[in-house]
Amino acid sequence: MHIQLNGEPYPLDAELTAADLIERLGLAGRRVAVEINEEIVPRSQLATTRLSQGDQVEVVHAIGGG
């Protein structure tokens, strides 16, 4: 199974939740926000949101800007 993660193909070898993905990316506990198929996934729902083939996932954070 593949998803699109931050615009790039990303293979998944198992059924994962959004929270599992964040963990796998080393971002657990970091201040990030997640969007799947252009819908926000609230932090409280990350653990119950399953990823599906072809999902467009965005994981964003704050960076310097004006």
Partner: protein, 263 residues
Amino acid sequence: MTLHTDTPFTIAGRDFSSRLLVGTGKYKDFDETGAAIAESGAEIVTFAVRRTNLGQEDGPNLLDVISPSRYTLLPNTAGCYTAKDAVRTCRLARELLDGHNLVKLEVLGDETTLYPNVVETLKAAETLLADGFDVMVYTSDDPIVARELEAMGCCAIMPLGSLIGSGHGIQNPHNVRLIVEQSRVPVLVDAGIGTASDAAMAMELGCDGVLLNTAIAHAREPLRMARAMKRAVEAGRDAFLAGRMPRRQNADPSSPFAGRING
């Protein structure tokens, strides 16, 4: 004799004592970012929202430096060229900041000028306002567009002084003054400020505040420029409140003519 106190600077129902808002881009590192912002005295600090760098070691987070407990954070939509992307970015920012509704909307026209695309900006503002956001909006110095954005419910109107990052100061002070005079929400010059006198000029025109980034970050000594900007905004505000003297065609001596020894 005493000085009259200034009216509070209020954004979306919150009072602030500093009228200088700053960005967090283009600094050498987070230490410099944090120190310059502290020196500027700014209470509202803007930042960008971007994809995380996958597979790279994730260093310190900007929000560890610019703590939400110390500053009022103002996520921006810099880099968005469509209303849709700007709205998505604001919703991500709201999730990032646990429901914080204040955003700086900017929808840009092209990469050469970064000039605001006001058509897309109006569309995005409508969606964001309906979705409960408090929208501070970056826009052109067109007073008619500014009036439209205020009528829609934007909580601050932020015309450019000149192009983002250009340091060309306020190119059309007459338009900025027109916007100031017609607006009942705060007006801030956002973009184009190059040095302290530009910031002071914005305030002398009657603006409620100034938002800048590059002028501090790309100064030779950012911390000193941060302090200069703080003082310039305060000085410009005081000059505006004090009311400048009338301009005269000819000289008018400050010392009396009477009693001169060469009479």
